[in-house]
Subunit: 538 residues, 2 copies
Amino acid sequence: MSELQTFRRSYIPPLPTILTKDVNVKKCEALGAAADHEKIQALFPCTYGLPRVEYEECTGKVWRPMNIGVVLSGGQAPGGHNVIAGIYDFTKKVGGNMYGFRYGPRGVFTGKYVKIDDKFMDQYRNMGGFDMIGSGRDKIKGDDQFQASAKVCNDLELDGLIVIGGDDSNTNAALLAEYFQSIHHRTHVIGCPKTIDGDLKNDYIPVSFGFDTACKIYSELIGNICVDALSAQKYYHFVRLMGRSASHITMECAFETHPNYTFIGEEISQKKKSVKQITQEVVDLIVERAKLGKNYGVILLPEGLIEFIPEMGSLIEELNEVIAAGHTAQDDIAAHLQPASRELFDYLPQSLRDQLTLDRDSHGNVKVSQIETEKFIVSCVQKELDALKAQGVYSGSFNAQCHFFGYEGRCGLPSCFDTNYCYALGYNAGVLIHEGLNGMMSTISNLDAPVEAWTAGGVPVTMMMNIERRNGKDEPVIKKALVELDGLPYRRFVEQAKKWRLGDCYSFPGPIQFTGPAANVINQTLAYEIEERRMRKH
Amino acid sequence: MSELQTFRRSYIPPLPTILTKDVNVKKCEALGAAADHEKIQALFPCTYGLPRVEYEECTGKVWRPMNIGVVLSGGQAPGGHNVIAGIYDFTKKVGGNMYGFRYGPRGVFTGKYVKIDDKFMDQYRNMGGFDMIGSGRDKIKGDDQFQASAKVCNDLELDGLIVIGGDDSNTNAALLAEYFQSIHHRTHVIGCPKTIDGDLKNDYIPVSFGFDTACKIYSELIGNICVDALSAQKYYHFVRLMGRSASHITMECAFETHPNYTFIGEEISQKKKSVKQITQEVVDLIVERAKLGKNYGVILLPEGLIEFIPEMGSLIEELNEVIAAGHTAQDDIAAHLQPASRELFDYLPQSLRDQLTLDRDSHGNVKVSQIETEKFIVSCVQKELDALKAQGVYSGSFNAQCHFFGYEGRCGLPSCFDTNYCYALGYNAGVLIHEGLNGMMSTISNLDAPVEAWTAGGVPVTMMMNIERRNGKDEPVIKKALVELDGLPYRRFVEQAKKWRLGDCYSFPGPIQFTGPAANVINQTLAYEIEERRMRKH
């Protein structure tokens, strides 16, 4: 163990005051779905339209012992171990046993679990990673696996199963909650919002955990690269960041570091920009900066960038459908595309065509994180600059360096914010189980206040759902929260980014600190979102 | 400015006690060259064989005003601004003016400089990057540039010029020192040991600045990746690290993070390993781990790895000579190679052949940092594993993720160690100038003690020199300090690395801290080297 690990392991996260009190559940307004209400209601007859819950203080509460299982689902996010620590400390308070299912949801239906005790738990308090019990990308699917899960939960006499996951994982949790309730099973299912991508949030869930830490790690690196660009004055750095469906990470990192240009996928998508237009935006920047004698800069882009380009999005969607229909050879796949997509497909470099057709994830989707979008953009930009040079319009030098930051941020030591937030999310999930709730997500709010003043409660998972087409089928899924172009964070970004283009206003956040004056800042997009919600309320 | 920047900017580095006293220079033993003594002496008649210097306390010292110029040369390293701050504070103490030459040595002979004052200096105290005055890779070459430099230094009435650089830059500084002394010029030249690669050190220079911070930044990321590998259990991460000629960074990061396998270039070189042997070492690791059910891991390699492979080294050396002789077309180049090199050249993938022949740096050398060595190794490993799978010997899964960490570490916020070390190096360089020394390098030692007990002095730059072949010519250069296979750090590494292969003993250093218990650790290779020197002395 490093000195920093030893130091952090001894940290005791404070609980929001409300969670240290005797409380009863207060039922608030009932919540529907994000869209497709009837279809969602039909699929979730037991767990649709539940009320949001808060707590109200009471006296003489009798806390009953609870047996609780926990499962980590999907990609790693800093703070997962502290969610488990929060749940564990709740079960210690009320009595009962706690189990961790191994390697994701597969551990639930196959009955692979470990009983959590003090010694085991204490090794992982405030630590990054999901290595305590492991995670997995399997979903609980089909009658057999649902029934097997019910048996395992019954054998362990679980009062609750807490699923720590992103949108897909919580969708799966909601299906399990619905199934359990339909068969009057004793086990209640509660979700916790996890994803570094930051796209699982809404009016009741301010942010998913891990986003803060991951953005700070990426911003540390981008800040270093900005200073390097300014010091060496000879490279354009293209930095691809995680965020397949949403550009929250990219926007937050832009706020933290002030790069010269930032692609926000949602803007590209809504303005229906083409590959050519996007290329031109970078070319314009480079030509303008060259006129100022600046042949260097930093450009951020989300990994999902090419999916946001409508013509590319259409192509990928068609590819997903064509491949789901069983076509595998590249020529055969190409032959089944619509003319516009066919043209674009043929225009792309062979390496990108290979990536689009060969590598698919377990959901059958293109592995966008494997596509080196930044290299694709660089080669398009280089071509245009060469043409401008030949025309005598541009005489600068263009040397590109490409970076991708992804795995570096998923298992970092959680920031002070994520450490405290996750602990509260987990502890609160335990309270929701205790109060007999099912199909809800644990929520902690008022996050810009000191931890003691944070509020706690729950919202039904179904309120985030709509119907989407996956692998050629209509399926209920949690609607991803995208960057909203009329939202305060994006408007502030647009306003500030103008200055960042030509002036070198790089900001340098540095490494995450756990003590000292910089240790307790929350990320800027969250701050803007909280500000916006307050403005809407008043 | 971020909160952390503001916090760090107000930090005042302590000085070693000896540098706060009135001192006189104490001349110690005279030092020769690293090798090729006669040739070095002939090239440096004025500055060869100078004595090493220390200080001894005195009373009633009269400190005279000094005008000092400073230049940053070569790649960025965390702490450069603090060397400048140390020099500046020395000139403030004794009186006189200080100038920063812009964008590297070119600023000296073209007379591009900025006068440094409190306001300008204070912006950069304890900050990363070289953006205060910029850096450059030019060398001062030929009579015209030497004469122009002499004129600029004379016009500014400089008592001293301090060159902050690595081996090439300090070689250039030594040539300038020799030239100035030969014409009885008033300006004395002093070097400061900078390079994140850690290959500029010897019995008198414990470490070059920037190494500590860069290794800690890379180790933070590698530690995160190790935990990710362990959590996801599905990827082999191949991490390429800076270090073109030496593997100090790679070894230090291995000590910090305990990866499953680590390539040390010097070992490959001395044991004359082939591409095939190196591939086999990784394949053996993967097959053994697969038998334990572990289809994941972390492997570190230095960017210069392929240059360390003798058959590759021969090829690159031949390519450097053939291209220096004016051959440019790939076929033409290939036709001029020796048979063994020709065979290897033809065997390499086209992309690597392109990189070896098309991209050259300003010294005419292959841009090794541009070669994606880790992808080259992965493709060799994949081929062998496919063969073993076909034979039924291996049934694991192999998914590789490649990373390169370079630019991310050059401009980080300097660690507490580098902050203090650089400040002392700069202040001490000022003292050496004041004491009329020339052609010396500033040295600060006893670095595992508290700062106050650090010692200070200087060694002649020529004592590090030997003759090497560059661009087809014999040239005097500072001999790079490689990882010594009979040295204590490497022996400890070998001993410990055995356990890291199959057991997952990953260590997790986390982000650099500036306060708290983890803030003041020095790096492990330095600690071992200090230990070894003490053992040798007794």
